[in-house]
Symmetry: C2
Subunit: 465 residues, 2 copies
């Protein structure tokens, strides 16, 4: 009985797909970044009934090209400037191909030694790039939301060792800034910490967490009989890429006995640059930190790097080893399933290993530095244009700006840019006013791309909105 596709067929379609990807990466500037489609576009075009008989791969690929592709929003496009610009670099894609073929699960060291060991290697390398000490244990999760949820779980256990037996205490409190990512609150909710246990501390004029208000909030909670447990600072907030004062937050965390988790999901990679390393000053004494190579380090989604200086607490929070997974190597080798919720752990380290080796630190630095420079140049241009205004500083590679006009005009401007297909921007409401977000971070974005997009924005803004 034939079962899987035969080798000749796999080769034929594999080569066809490699060529398709090469063309896509080379030429996707010609595609509209955001598709102009309505809900139902793909669901209505595909059969409502599941396939009974197998179909030839030609037909599947034809449907991929003609039905799926027109409904794709091109995150891997050099003019994708919405949310955070991300990229799957060519070396990262090559790594993913091998990960799919090996299909390994690194739940235990024994279940595939290469998975766990390469994960330890790339986490060590990335730690060196970020200038963090060896005391940080690193492991890979899918997303920063999941990394942060694990940090909060460890913080909770550190504050209340009886949580494993008794459940979540309702008197623990988590602090973060009003501009922190929603994953902090979502992680707390998932863990059974109610919204009453989450404090969003106000920020300064540059959208950074205010240490004085953090201190006051902790004092107020203590006075009310609650137990402050964890503070999450952000290096590169999603809304405006503001950088919280990590060292000051760390000092407060130490003085108050709080777990300090740093969400550097987006901003972290910029700490490779000597001139940006200040962002992580103080991080060396923090308890945990997350940085996402799938955001600004050219690695295909998903790969979130989670560091923890107290891995034994993580392990205490999550280890539940059933007997069929006990192995003779347990004393000498790390079994990463013991440090988190997911049991299955695909071989994500491979793509990051490809990316770090192919680029090397020097090239990564050059690319990140250009992104930051272009963002600042663009911010200068915007400031120089009397029709526009900046809405926030530009410490990293996100430019937040708006037309000096009503929210409706600004919304329409975003829509027109996106409908033009030439770029994809996101909007956001900041301090009650709508603004445009233009993030630069794709590995193949050029200065010309940024300038072409800015020209397009200016031209569209010149028409009545």
């Amino acid at each position: 009985m034939t079962t899987d596709m035969n080798s000749a067929e796999f080769r034929r379609f594999g080569h066809e797909i490699v060529d398709w990807i090469a063309d896509y990466l080379e030429n996707n500037r010609g595609l509209p970044v955001m598709p102009q489609v309505s809900p139902g576009v793909l669901e209505d075009a595909l059969p409502a009934e599941a396939p009974e008989e197998g179909e030839p791969m030609e037909r599947i690929l034809e449907d991929f090209r003609t039905l799926v592709m027109p409904a794709v929003n091109h995150w891997n496009h050099p003019r994708f400037h919405a949310y955070f610009s991300v990229s799957a670099s060519a070396p990262g894609i090559l790594g993913e191909m091998l990960t799919a073929a090996l299909n390994t699960n690194g739940m235990l060291w024994l279940s595939s030694p290469a998975n766990t060991e390469l994960e330890m290697v790339v986490m060590r390398w990335l730690r060196q790039w970020l200038g963090l000490p060896e005391s940080f244990f690193g492991m890979i999760h899918d997303t920063a939301s999941v990394s942060t949820m694990h940090a909060l779980a460890a913080a909770r256990l550190a504050a209340e060792p009886r949580v494993r037996e008794d459940g979540a205490p309702r008197d623990l409190v988590v602090y973060t800034s009003e501009h922190a990512h929603s994953s902090v609150e979502k992680g707390a909710l998932a863990l059974g910490m109610g919204q009453k246990q989450v404090r969003k501390v106000a920020t300064d004029a540059e959208f950074r967490l205010r240490p004085d208000l953090l201190r006051a909030a902790i004092a107020a909670d203590r006075a009310a009989g609650l137990r402050p447990c964890c503070v999450v600072s952000t290096v590169g907030t999603t809304a405006v890429t503001s950088v919280d004062p990590v060292a000051e937050v760390q000092a407060i965390a130490e003085a108050e006995g709080l777990w300090h988790h740093i969400d550097a999901a987006y901003g972290g990679p910029a700490a490779l640059l000597p001139e940006m390393r200040w962002m992580l000053d103080g991080a060396e004494r923090a308890d945990s930190l997350v940085v996402n190579p799938h955001k600004w380090l050219f690695t295909p989604i998903d790969l979130s790097a989670f560091y923890c200086r107290r891995p034994e607490v993580l392990r205490e929070a999550f280890s539940l080893v059933p007997s069929y997974l006990r192995t003779g190597q347990d004393a000498r080798a790390v079994n990463l399933m013991d440090y988190g919720v997911p049991l299955g752990r695909r071989f994500r380290a491979l793509k990051l290993w490809f990316v770090m080796r192919w680029f090397g630190r020097r090239k990564v630095e050059r690319i990140l530095r250009s992104h930051i420079e272009w963002a600042r140049e663009l911010a200068g241009e915007i400031q120089a244009d009397p029709r526009f205004e900046l809405c926030a500083p530009t410490p990293l590679s996100l430019v937040c700006f708006r037309l000096k006009a009503g929210d409706e005009e600004n919304r329409r401007l975003v829509d027109r840019v996106n409908e033009s297909g030439e770029a994809f921007l996101a909007g956001n409401v900041l301090g009650g006013r709508y603004m445009l977000r233009l993030a630069i971070g794709h590995v193949r974005t050029t200065r010309e791309d940024v300038w072409a997009v800015w020209e397009r924005i200016r031209r569209l803004a010149a028409d009545p909105l």
Copy 2:
């Protein structure tokens, strides 16, 4: 400035990797399934220092072949019979290549319409294959552990709507069988339900949850002033693939007002077979169900299908939409980030779409039916051999057996099989005695593979252990 690898280079290495994968899939029977390596094998072989300068892809691939590969445990090998046998079929690998290249994030419908819509399409198709009603909303998670954690979170909210504000109540109780997967307990721990809130109900002689004991446990908890909240039944337990009486559990859940979650992570796909559909009788009225195409449906890891008949409860548990993610399509389109913890959602649906279309239901049925038949044949052989005994029934494709000898002899037998490189088995302790697990489930496993492994086991058992 050159940034990403150029197109010619990507083509060259992409084609090289496709050929390597084709050779690997065709010839990996020649590789030892489990590597004979010690902890440190790869960490010690790779530079301790992160790369400063980029390296040519030739050298990276050379290290992949000579350093990484010897430390890989070959999950994608037809004689990988440990844990659950899984497989990345060729069509699934082709799908993963495109997912990596597109690098999309389906957090919102708008953030890539194709992601959300194809996810809805494949979840509908799989629901049809499993014979579940349309009322089941389906979405994709990475692993069953994460799917089950989300089910428990929904169950908790259904029992106690104030959990979002107030945090996890300590009086809710979750029930499952003593043979349920550890992910049930781990999910509860993560959610802040203490171990005191988890009951492991004893099973019958065939390792199935006993409804009478479930009823008694619920009554005892109610009498103690606790609130029974959720019951998790299993279709194909990890230890022995026993199938809990889903319909009876469902009847109890309805009578008692409990959320019923079904963990069909491994066993679920077998419900495609008309002769095995009985396993899911009663599931049509359950609240949620998880089945993992990355286990027994030829889909590269990771892809866990999570169904929920009350998606509004999931949404209430997890939705926290920040303003920069609000889109004009919200009323008409599903934003999957609102239904769970992870914000980033890679385009996993694509590989399952490739697999379901290329194989079609008929071919999937033929393959799954052979696996079950071979497992039963093998069980018969084992029973006929006076040196061996079966340790559990063989309802699906896992054979649990042991030498009629001490645990040490059985442990040594597993080690010798694994050291031979010819197959990879796992051991387990069941009822205090060590047994061998031989799972059949790889898309390219043949009857000859199974018989060759059995011959090897018999020969090794003939030598002094």
